[in-house]
């Protein structure tokens, strides 16, 4: 009899011939996330991953494994032989533990038979185990097959596994199975969520932040580094690039109409991000843009921004409502940092009435008045790079 954690991963099991690649990556990611627990051992079987605890406390392992992308759910299970008497004893013990933990009046036993040669079928195993539990806790528990307070799961495979709880994971694909993208990370609520969502689909993240120090404060930079650190809890480590946009913003301010300031700044961010991406083998840009949230995110503005680069730009939040974005930000732990007051663009620059329907030809005309290449080169020359880890 041992304690094991069952890790379920859903979607990966659908991957045809690439399935092994995805599974191996998930095991690797789990090992890395749990490397501080040297006694754990991992094996793949039955389209799931088992983690043998070998005496390691289960709680922290469950908590940490639950945030590994690709994990759909986890259960702490007792593994025993398939001898019926032993399964029954373990199921009774599991029920006993659950009773100590919470107030339970009704239960059901639900069985699954992986080993088709087992003398009882799933229905029969469930019924028999249920009967044993009922006898053991006579008067204390009754059976309710529809809405039980407690479900005792029994799985009979080469071993039997008994558990009663499922911890949900985030799902998605194992981190690093979908290539690498560069996240435009501001200090706001949206961009960390956008990065997290793409990372959940297996994309490795690097991040780029644009500031205009001394028109913005060093605390704004630190805030972004803290956001990157929170993301690195899911991504192991994140390379973060800082770019100072002040010279570019000053030039735009001097030479272009005020209402186009934001959209032109956005285009320069895209130019610079695309070059940093190419240089660091990132195959996509990721932004937190959200249709019509602000003037620079109307359909016309997005068109003008998007036309700055050839590289794919992913905007996972494009159709989400702000409240839903905030809910994710709270869940992943970036919200509290995002709402700190330090901003990454000084209000000195912000136009009073930004254009909501900029025209690309007009924007290009004004842009050509700027020494674009020199401005981009100067900004890139000042690039600072930091590797952020949890």
């Amino acid at each position: 009899m041992d304690q094991v954690i069952i890790v379920r991963y859903g979607e990966i099991s659908l991957k045809g011939r690439n399935r092994g690649f995805f599974e191996d990556k998930l095991v690797d990611n789990l090992r890395l996330r749990l490397q501080e627990y040297p006694n754990l051992s991992f094996y793949k079987r039955d389209s799931r991953i088992y983690i043998e605890l070998n005496g390691t406390p289960a709680e922290p392992v469950l908590t940490k494994a639950a945030v590994v992308f690709g994990v759909v759910s986890l259960s702490l299970a007792t593994r025993c032989s398939t001898r019926f008497e032993e399964i029954t004893a373990v199921a009774v013990a599991e029920t006993e533990n659950a009773l100590k933990r919470e107030k339970i009046k009704t239960f059901k036993a639900q069985a699954k038979r992986g080993d088709k040669k087992y003398p009882l079928d799933s229905q029969e195993i469930g019924r028999e185990i249920g009967a044993c539990i009922l006898r053991h806790f006579d008067g204390q528990l009754t059976v309710d097959v529809h809405h039980p307070d407690l479900t005792v799961y029994v799985e009979v495979r080469d071993y039997a596994y008994v558990y009663s709880q499922k911890v949900p994971g985030y799902g998605g694909l194992p981190y690093g199975t979908s290539g690498k993208g560069l996240l435009l990370l501001s200090g706001g609520i949206d961009s960390p969520v956008a990065g997290w969502m793409m990372a959940k689909r297996g994309l490795m993240l690097e991040a780029i932040h644009f500031h205009s120090y001394p028109f913005t404060s060093e605390r704004a930079k630190e805030k972004v580094e803290e956001l990157a650190r929170i993301l690195s809890l899911y991504c192991r480590r994140i390379k973060l690039y800082h770019i100072n946009l002040l010279e570019i913003q000053t030039a735009i301010r001097e030479k272009c109409p005020e209402e186009l300031f934001t959209i032109l700044s956005r285009r320069f961010m895209m130019f610079i991000a695309a070059r940093v991406a190419a240089h660091n083998h990132c195959e996509a840009l990721i932004t937190g843009e959200n249709i019509s949230q602000v003037a620079s995110q109307t359909l016309q503005s997005l068109h003008v921004t998007n036309a700055a680069v050839d590289i794919p730009v992913f905007r996972p939040l494009i159709a989400m409502d702000k409240m839903d974005i905030i809910n994710i930000a709270e869940k992943i732990g970036t919200y509290e940092t995002s709402i700190l007051p330090y901003e990454d663009c000084c209000t000195v620059f912000l136009p009073k009435n930004p254009a909501t329907k900029p025209r690309l030809d007009k924007v290009l005309t004004y842009e050509s008045a700027l020494d674009k290449e020199a401005l981009i080169k100067n900004a890139l020359d000042g690039l600072e790079c930091k590797t952020i880890t949890p």
Binding site: Y213, P214, F215, T216, S217, E218, T250, R253, E254, P341, Y342, E343, C346, T347, V348, F349, L350
Partner: protein, 385 residues
């Protein structure tokens, strides 16, 4: 190069302060309440520090209680004196330009039902005495008015205020927050009942301050414990910080007039340089006996104070500002509002606060850098004068 001009926020501790704190931690570590020799030695050190700090407010009519700093002193003064006054219908009086550690106490008291009268200030930053007279006619229980304002350095007419209070019927308690004054300017008014001070504003350690309490004044504690500080501030004494405060006070006392002259010279020099070199400037704290010598508030038109602060920081020059460059939170500044600055002036206001360790040559560099940065910020904000 590092030029630290934020001495109203905090000062660098003197070398002898650091040495005395170190000595108390390494050698004289006893508990002053202990009966043995170690305790006695610590008690002697605290006693000496108490007399050193008291020497800066040498009225012979006040006792000093050590606290954790200005905020605690203000809380003890206000809550501690209200606790002994039964009639809660009497209003409370304060000024509109107090430090948050006083203003927020009154906001809290308002919330729980006390009437609070806020005395206006004139555009130079001095409380309006006519307004105060009117408030005194309402028989307040307590008046709390700061000695030196922390943002512009105006010295409030404490002696006159005390006289008005003395002659009012049903005399209220008079408290003054002297955190920015103590150790910087002479303080002699014997009329105040309670006065808050803090060590780290005059080259002492952080986390230590004091409350002067007039002899015979009935103050109630706001914390309860083992009887230290005549039961008004129980808890084992912070002996290293107390002794550090004593050392800093002794230095401040022996250098008081010399330091004042030096600070006024520095201030005059910088005002002169800035007004000659930079257009569109308003000096909110002139060199005058009515202004503290170490605080200089300047408003620059067409800039953001915070941007100038970060620009100067790149050159190793540290100053302060209150108006934050934030589109979300336009936090209005209650002091600058009281001075009737235009929003543009308020936003472009920085505070320079000297210590007597600053040198005139440093200010040449500051003026040069300030001129350069103000001009380049104005190019971006489009201010043409």
């Amino acid at each position: 190069m590092e030029i630290y001009l934020d001495n109203s926020a905090t000062t660098q501790p003197l070398a002898e302060v650091i040495a005395s704190v170190n000595h108390m931690m390494a050698e004289n570590y006893g508990n002053p309440s202990a009966l043995h020799r170690r305790g006695l030695e610590a008690e002697h050190a605290v006693k000496k520090a108490r007399s050193q700090v008291s020497a800066l407010f040498n009225t012979g009519n006040h006792d000093l209680i050590f606290t954790s700093g200005g905020t605690e002193s203000n809380n003890l003064a206000i809550f501690g004196s209200l606790a002994t006054a039964r009639d809660t219908s009497r209003p409370l009086v304060t000024s509109s330009i107090e430090h948050p550690s006083v203003l927020n106490i009154f906001k809290h008291l308002e919330k729980i039902g006390r009437k609070v009268i806020y005395i206006r200030t004139d555009p130079q930053g001095f409380v309006d005495l006519e307004d105060l007279k009117k408030a005194l006619d309402e028989h307040p229980a307590l008046v709390s008015i700061m000695t030196v304002n922390n943002e512009i350095g105006s010295i409030q007419p404490i002696a006159e205020i005390a006289r008005l209070i003395e002659t009012s019927d049903n005399k209220p308690v008079f408290h003054t927050d002297a955190v920015q004054a103590f150790g910087k300017i002479p303080l002699q008014s014997t009329a105040v009942d309670l006065m808050s001070v803090s060590a780290h504003k005059f080259h002492g350690p952080k986390g230590i301050g004091g409350l002067f309490v007039k002899k015979g004044f009935r103050l109630a504690p706001i914390m309860f414990g083992g009887g230290q500080e005549t039961n008004l501030r129980p808890g084992t004494e912070n002996t290293p910080a107390i002794v550090g405060m004593g050392t800093a006070a002794a230095w401040a006392e022996s250098h008081l007039s010399e330091n004042m002259d030096k600070l006024n010279q520095l201030k005059a020099y910088l005002i002169n340089g800035v007004t000659n070199e930079i257009p569109g400037v308003r000096i909110n704290s002139p060199v005058s006996p009515r202004f503290a010598p170490h605080i200089l508030s300047i408003s620059f038109k067409g800039i953001r104070g915070e941007v100038l602060l970060h620009s100067l920081e790149q050159d190793g020059i540290y100053v302060a500002t209150r108006s934050a460059c934030s589109s979300k939170k336009k936090s209005r500044n209650h002091v600058l509002d009281a001075l009737q600055l235009t929003p543009d002036e308020a936003e472009g206001t920085i505070r320079i606060s000297f210590s007597s360790f600053n040198r005139q040559e440093e200010l040449d560099y500051v003026i040069e850098k300030m001129k350069h940065h103000v001009a380049s910020i104005r190019r971006i904000t489009g201010w043409r004068g």
